[in-house]
C-alpha cells in the first residue's frame, strides 16, 4: 500500500514540475490535470475514496475545463491556428500518456486486488464525513454556499463589463438588440424569432 502511495506521489510531483516549466498553456494544463489525478490516487490510498472522487470530478473536471475554456478564448484568430498546426507534432502526447498509463496500471491494481475497498489502515467512510459535515460544520456549509454565490456574481459582473466596453468601442457595429439580450440571461434570445435564419 505504501508503494502505491509513493508511485502516485512521484507521478504527481513529476507532473507538477512539468506543469510549471511548460511554455504552452494547453500542455501545462494537460500536465496539471495529470497531477490532480495522481493526487486523487494518493487520496485513495490514504483512505479517503470520497475525496478522491471529488478531486477527479471537481478539480480535474470542472475547474480545469474552466481553465481550458479561458485559454481557448484568449487564443482566437489566425495566429492561433498557425500555432496549432505547429503544436500538433507527433510526440507531444507521449509524456502525459506515459504518466497517465502508470496511474491507470496502479488504479487497476488497487481495484482488482481482493480485500477491503481502500486498503488503508483506517479509512474514513463518506458516511462519517457527511455526519460531521451536516452536524458541527453546518455553518461552514452555509458560508461556502455564500462564497460560491459571491464568486458567481463576481464572475458574471466582470464578464458583463466586457460587453459594455465592446459597445463603446464598436458603436454602430454591434446590434443594439443583441447586446441587451446577451446582457440579460433571462430574456436572452427572446428577440430571435423575427430575425432567425
Amino acid at each position: 500500500m505504501d508503494a502505491a502511495f509513493y508511485i502516485a506521489s512521484v507521478v504527481a510531483i513529476g507532473a507538477t514540475v512539468l506543469t510549471i516549466t511548460r511554455t504552452n498553456a494547453v500542455h501545462a494544463l494537460l500536465y496539471l490535470i495529470l497531477s490532480l489525478l495522481a493526487v486523487a490516487v494518493a487520496f485513495y490510498t490514504m483512505g479517503a475514496p470520497f475525496i478522491a472522487a471529488l478531486e477527479v470530478i471537481i478539480y480535474a473536471g470542472a475547474i480545469m475545463v474552466l481553465f481550458i475554456f479561458i485559454v481557448m478564448m484568449l487564443n482566437l484568430g489566425e495566429r492561433a491556428a498557425a500555432l496549432e498546426r505547429r503544436w500538433r507534432t507527433p510526440g507531444m502526447w507521449r509524456g502525459p500518456a506515459i504518466l497517465a498509463g502508470l496511474l491507470l496500471i496502479e488504479v487497476a491494481y488497487l481495484l482488482l486486488r481482493a480485500g477491503n475497498a481502500t486498503g488503508a489502515a483506517q479509512a474514513v467512510e463518506p458516511k462519517q464525513v457527511a455526519m460531521a459535515l451536516f452536524g458541527p460544520y453546518l455553518i461552514g456549509v452555509e458560508l461556502s454556499s455564500i462564497l460560491l454565490l459571491a464568486g458567481m456574481i463576481g464572475a458574471y459582473h466582470l464578464g458583463m463589463r466586457k460587453i459594455e466596453e465592446m459597445r463603446e468601442e464598436h458603436g454602430t457595429h454591434i446590434d443594439e438588440g443583441r447586446v441587451v439580450a446577451s446582457g440579460d440571461l433571462v430574456h436572452a434570445g427572446a428577440d430571435r424569432a423575427d430575425r432567425a435564419p
Partner: protein, 93 residues
C-alpha cells in the same frame, strides 16, 4: 506530508517565476491542492473526518477563486491585449 510540502513549494516557485497570468492562477491551484493534501493526510493519520471536511471547503473556495480570477484575466486581456502580469502596473510605486 512531504508530498504536500513539495507540491506547495513547486506551486510557490511557479507563482514567483512565471509572468503569464494563466500560469499564475494554475500555480495558485497547485498550492491550494497541496494544502488539501496536507489536510487529508492529517485526517487519515488520526482517522477523523475533519480533514476531509476542510478539503471540501478548500474545494469550494478554489472554485469561487478561479472563476473570479479567470474573469479578471479576461478583463485584463481585453484591456491590455497581453497576459503579462506587469502590464496593469500603473501606480509607479
Amino acid at each position: 506530508m512531504l508530498l504536500a510540502a513539495i507540491l506547495f513549494t513547486l506551486g510557490l516557485i511557479g507563482l514567483i517565476a512565471r509572468r503569464n497570468l494563466v500560469f499564475v492562477l494554475m500555480s495558485l491551484e497547485i498550492m491550494l491542492n497541496a494544502a488539501g493534501v496536507a489536510f487529508i493526510a492529517a485526517g487519515a493519520r488520526w482517522g477523523q473526518p475533519d480533514g476531509q471536511i476542510m478539503f471540501l471547503f478548500i474545494l469550494a473556495m478554489a472554485a469561487a477563486e478561479v472563476s473570479v480570477g479567470l474573469a479578471l484575466v479576461l478583463q485584463l486581456y481585453h484591456r491590455f491585449k497581453t497576459l503579462d502580469d506587469e502590464a496593469p502596473s500603473e501606480m509607479r510605486g
